[in-house]
Amino acid sequence: MSKLNKIARKSTWVDMTAFVDVSFLILTFFMLATKFKPPEVVNIDNPKSVSSDKVEDKDVFKVSFDKEGRVFISFSSDKEGREKAQLTADVLSRQKGLGLTPAEISNFIKFSSGGIGVPVSQLKSFLALSDAEYKAFKQPGIPVSDTLNNQLNDYINALLTGTGGRKPANIMLNGDNGTTYPYFKNILAAFKKNGIFSFKLITAMEGVPSGTPLYKRQKEQGGGEAK
């Protein structure tokens, strides 16, 4: 009798070791696969598309606009991006007579990876902000709605003047679902005016609906490759 009892008591203990092994394996996977989002000052909800091209992150010039139509520009934080941000700030300072100091220009480079969205006239005071103030500051956005005073045009013009017409390898447009069309149109107008006719829209991925021509073609190609 006493032996039987002991066996019964032992069986309630579950061996967790395998469980721990699995959970830590998954944990390791997620830790390695995680790429933290870079801090953004704007919250943007991208539309979806069937496109499957990867978004490049080198030498990027990005124009973002949020739901309220606030427009921001940003550069990637790699060498090319920083160089182009500096050239933009230099030219802008010269063209508009802003008289930016080297400290302010280095702030421009620093802020440009997160997003700059102030009218040219406010740029100097904006660049005097500290890092913490920059994060808390609600930027009004680059004015684009007025055709005669489309300041995005000034920024892009400064960029292209600075680089001598050399365009950044990746020009991207990062737009929010809810923005009304005129903002998009005015941004396009600023692009066109500066001779930028080819760029990429940042979108979220979406599956190709079945039965459509693109779906059929992709299926055929997929089948052909498998053979």
Binding site: S2, S49, K200
Partner: protein, 187 residues
Amino acid sequence: MAEIAQDSGGGGHKKGPGVKKQARKDARVDMTPMVDLGFLLITFFIFTTTINSPKAFKLNVPDDSAKDEEQTQAKASGAFTVLLSKSNHVYYYEGQLQSDGSNFKSSNFKEIRNELLRKKGSTAEKDLVVIIKPNEEANYKNVVDMLDEMQILEIKRYAVVDIAEGENALIRVTEGTSAPAPAAGGK
């Protein structure tokens, strides 16, 4: 109860094996808190991971400053105009808009695909051109969705064009945001 008492009595009787058993029990570590912690961290990483990374959608726009004779002319018979308006409303007409608005039709994002497919099937590929005209109240999502539709349906020629005042008036009449104009009763 009686059995337990008997058991402890038995333990007292032969001490050797009882001590051994207790030592074996101690070697086992309770893993439950470790599992708890592990899964807590997994949950954290799952929530912070961006699962689908953004995708790039290539867009080429025409040069507006090109001279008129260089610009491609759309054949009226192959033209299909899609008008986008607020709250995801879609309107379309084929060819040229009739002055009485009789070929002006209302649709939505689901049905427009069938209409476009039908048009694509009945028109020679070189003649087919889809003109997308968003009005001021259309949002960016609608425009991108429509451009995406061009990819899905493999329509090679399309253009985003500003809306004409007459077309906008028709939309407003259909949506009933202004007093209905007489002749234009767009159904």
